[in-house]
């Protein structure tokens, strides 16, 4: 890592392979490598969008069939907890963007603090979600044949709302867990000084994944809790 100063000045590219330990041999310059890394990440995020699109489509179809049931069912969810979780995720998205900003500024210490806060937000989100799940389990508001929710007994499509609810929020919660693991990996790199102002692509791409988790929730929240 003693060569990072040289890497900063080696922007021209001809001797970057000697000066930058982060540059793989099949890339001409760190700029080309960053470009490729970003493109790869956006391609992956595109597939993630399509993965969730399938579930959102399922929601849309069943909402179309069982409009009133879905409207009723959404009011059985805890709006306060849903709102708190939305604020938690949006704030964690903000802090992860700030962590990237701080790494770019060369302030890894601040970046590490922001990443720790982000991971704690992820943990808080999961705890609140688990609390909500537990409450729904107790009420019998479960998907498919396990649906025994007294409040909505006899409503056509009632179990479909909770099937969609558990599938979408479950897949999202899984992404939160994966996101936490990625952020911990990024945090390790930040603390060890393996990323800095001249090489910050792991922080940037890890952050992109976390923003996607936020993005999915931005749509899940109103669709499930509000309308």
């Amino acid at each position: 890592m003693s060569s990072s100063d040289a890497a900063v000045h080696g922007h021209g590219g001809h001797d970057e392979h000697d000066s930058n330990p982060h540059l793989a041999h099949h890339f001409d310059s760190i700029a080309t490598q960053n470009h490729a890394s970003r493109l790869g990440m956006w391609l992956f995020l595109g597939t993630e969008v399509l993965l969730f699109a399938g579930l959102f489509l399922g929601y849309a179809v069943y909402r179309h069939f069982y409009h009133d049931t879905f409207r009723f069912a959404s009011h059985t969810l805890n709006l306060t907890l849903g709102t708190v979780n939305t604020i938690v995720l949006i704030s964690s998205s903000f802090t992860v963007a700030m962590a990237y900003h701080m790494v770019k500024k060369g302030n890894n210490k601040a970046a590490a603090g922001l990443l720790v806060f982000t991971i704690l937000c992820a943990l808080a989100f999961l705890c609140i979600k688990a609390f909500e799940y537990q409450h729904k389990f107790a009420e019998g508001a479960l998907p498919g044949k396990w649906f025994t929710f007294e409040e909505m007994k006899g409503m056509p499509g009632a179990n479909m709302f909770f099937t969609v609810y558990f599938l979408t929020t479950g897949l999202h919660a899984f992404h939160v867990i994966v996101g936490m693991a990625i952020l911990m990996w990024v945090l390790k790199k930040v603390i060890k000084g393996q990323v800095d102002a001249s090489y910050s692509i792991p922080v940037e791409l890890g952050g992109l994944y976390w923003h996607l988790v936020d993005l999915v929730w931005i749509f899940l929240f109103p669709l499930l809790y509000l309308i």
Partner: protein
């Protein structure tokens, strides 16, 4: 190590000329939109509830994608990739709803059929279902 680069110019930061203020601004906007959607979501706006909630969510998502995810000043190819993904989401929705909305009632799933025929036995709460069709 980190301190050493504090003053270093950033070679690959063409996308990073703005300061932290922009992030704070976006964060504040996202919080305001969240509170707005919670308040309007619980108001009875008739048929406007769903479109309004979707519009607010789309605005929030756009802010996150453009500024937190830097698509605003990222390489054009990344915008193309994400745009194509969104386009295919629309194709998916258009195809499926093009089918559903043009079906004869007999060709609908049984649950929906039952609902159409004997929808009267569905428990409804006036406060929650003011505009049941």
């Amino acid at each position: 190590m980190a301190e050493k680069n504090k003053q270093a110019a950033d070679p690959s930061a063409h996308e990073h000329e703005h300061g932290a203020g922009r992030y704070v601004l976006i964060w504040a906007a996202l919080l305001v939109f969240t509170l707005t959607t919670v308040i309007t979501g619980r108001m009875d706006l008739g048929g406007a509830n769903l479109p309004l909630a979707l519009i607010i969510a789309t605005v929030k998502a756009t802010l996150v994608v453009l500024f937190f995810m830097h698509l605003w000043d990222s390489e054009g190819i990344n915008r193309l990739v994400f745009g194509v993904a969104l386009l295919f989401v629309l194709v998916l929705l258009a195809g499926v709803f093009g089918d559903l909305l043009t079906r004869m009632p007999d060709a609908l799933p049984t649950g929906q059929h039952a609902h159409t025929l004997e929808g009267g036995d569905m428990p409804t709460t006036p406060a929650l279902n003011p505009h049941a069709e």
